[in-house]
């Protein structure tokens, strides 16, 4: 049997490992979620997602809105009509957020482990 050189064997192992990591990561990544902003309302206003979910807010109004975490952990720029803002929620817990321009607009995301 022809011996495989050490560097070559190492790269094969690395490749297999990489494949393994990539496939498990793909399996574990939760479905991304979209929250619509229409008529000065976040919809859905409340939802529950597993940790690691990427949430995207999309503004459908003719007026700009922002997405601001109450605990100040994130803050979007002003979203004009059709603009979106994404945030990956990796920590389990409750994320309360609101529109920094129209603070009567509020929403809550429960992030489960």
């Amino acid at each position: 049997m022809m011996p495989i050189s050490l560097p070559r064997r190492f790269s094969m192992v690395a490749a297999i490992l990489l494949l393994f990591v990539a496939s498990t990561a793909r399996a574990a990544a939760p479905q991304p979620v979209t929250i619509r902003i229409d008529n000065f309302t976040f919809a859905p206003a409340e939802l529950s997602v597993p940790a690691g979910t990427t949430v995207t807010w999309v503004n459908g109004d003719d007026i700009p809105h922002t997405v601001v975490a109450v605990d100040k952990s994130f803050r979007s720029k002003a979203l004009d009509t059709g603009d979106g803002y994404s945030q990956t929620l990796s920590m389990p817990g409750t994320v309360d957020y609101f529109c920094g321009l129209h603070p009567h607009m509020t929403g809550r995301i429960t992030v489960t482990p």
């Binding site: 008529n39 000065f40 309302t41 109004d61 003719d62 007026i63 700009p64 601001v68 109450v70 720029k77 002003a78 004009d80 009509t81 309360d96 957020y97 609101f98 920094g100 321009l101 129209h102 603070p103 009567h104 607009m105 509020t106």
Partner: protein, 313 residues
């Protein structure tokens, strides 16, 4: 109950007349705090007055190009042209915020160029649309905030009237309304200290300082505190924008007034699922946009407020 007449002076509620023009015009009077129409008025109402006047312009939203008004800069130009055509030139303009739609430099540049065409001094306060730059308002303060405090509040005197420009669109809290904040309230209390209670006061800010409709955020969280400092004054006129429609309320010696936008109308409180630009037939748009002129007549306390839509002949 009397209609506002008080011994030794003209009562505010009895004497204040707010004249709203639409087509031929409707004259409004306020009696006992209740607005009632006094009938149609003609061109004669446009006769020049001898008093000191200033003009309020609001919510120009330069940069807005959606169906409710594809050319907000154009309607601002029309408003400024009307100011230029007034029989009596106002002493200055007050802009109650939302100069721009998205705080872009070009929007501010365009607004400055058009409003500058009036050739009058302008006193600004910011709306929430003016603080959307990366510096959350630095662009506004660099351009309009010279000599102001904090987020852009200030006061000045003209023709014996004390004018106070307040900022209630900064540091808004989740679930809340407009916000003045502790620092600004302290400044206000200090600013009014030592002023004679017979000094007429004009307060202007973007979001209404009275709760027009809390469900839509049309009010200011800590306005009551500010108004408590103004209580002892015999004549207080509060001018706001933000809601893009005329609304007036009298509470004691305080008259609250909101102006029309020069860009687009918004629905009446609760009449639609949400606030926001309201698309109306093109031939109606200009009847819902306009400016507000305020006259201070020497020797009388109350200020006369006239709202003029862009469509007024």
């Amino acid at each position: 109950m009397n209609d506002g007449e008080q011994p030794g002076g003209i009562g505010r509620r009895g004497a204040l007349h707010c004249m709203v023009w639409a087509g031929t015009g409707v004259l409004w009077g306020l009696s006992g705090g209740v607005p009632r129409s006094l009938g149609l008025v003609g061109e004669a109402m446009a006769a020049p007055t001898s008093g000191f006047t200033f003009l309020q312009i609001s919510d120009s939203h330069v940069g807005f190009d959606k169906p409710a008004n594809p050319n907000a800069l154009g309607t601002l130009q029309e408003a400024v042209a009307r100011i230029g055509a007034l029989p009596q030139k106002p002493d200055f303009l007050i802009h109650t915020g939302d100069i721009s739609h998205l705080s872009k430099p070009k929007e501010f540049d365009d607004a400055d160029q058009v409003i500058g065409g009036a050739g009058l001094p302008v006193h600004y306060v910011p709306g929430e649309h003016d603080l959307l730059d990366d510096g959350t308002g630095q662009a506004y303060r660099d351009r309009y905030g010279r000599g102001s405090q904090g987020a852009g509040w200030y006061s000045f005197d003209a023709a014996g009237v004390h004018f106070i420009g307040l900022v209630n669109v900064v540091d808004l809290k989740a679930g809340g309304l407009g916000n003045l904040g502790h620092e600004q309230l302290e400044w206000l209390e200090d600013d009014l200290r030592g002023k004679s209670s017979s000094t007429p006061i004009v307060v202007f800010a973007h979001i209404p300082l009275w709760t027009v409709y809390a469900d839509w955020g049309w009010g200011t969280e800590d306005a009551a505190q500010a108004l408590s400092y103004l209580k002892r004054f015999g004549s207080v006129t509060v001018l706001n924008g933000h809601i893009h429609q005329l609304m007036q309320k009298v509470e004691g010696d305080v008259v609250f007034h909101t102006a029309m936008s020069t860009a687009f109308p918004q629905p009446a409180p609760g009449s639609a699922p949400s606030p926001g630009p309201m698309t109306v037939p093109a031939d109606r748009l200009r009847s819902l946009l306009g400016t507000t002129r305020v006259t201070v007549l020497p020797g009388t306390k109350p200020l006369a407020i006239v709202d003029t839509p862009l469509s007024a002949s």
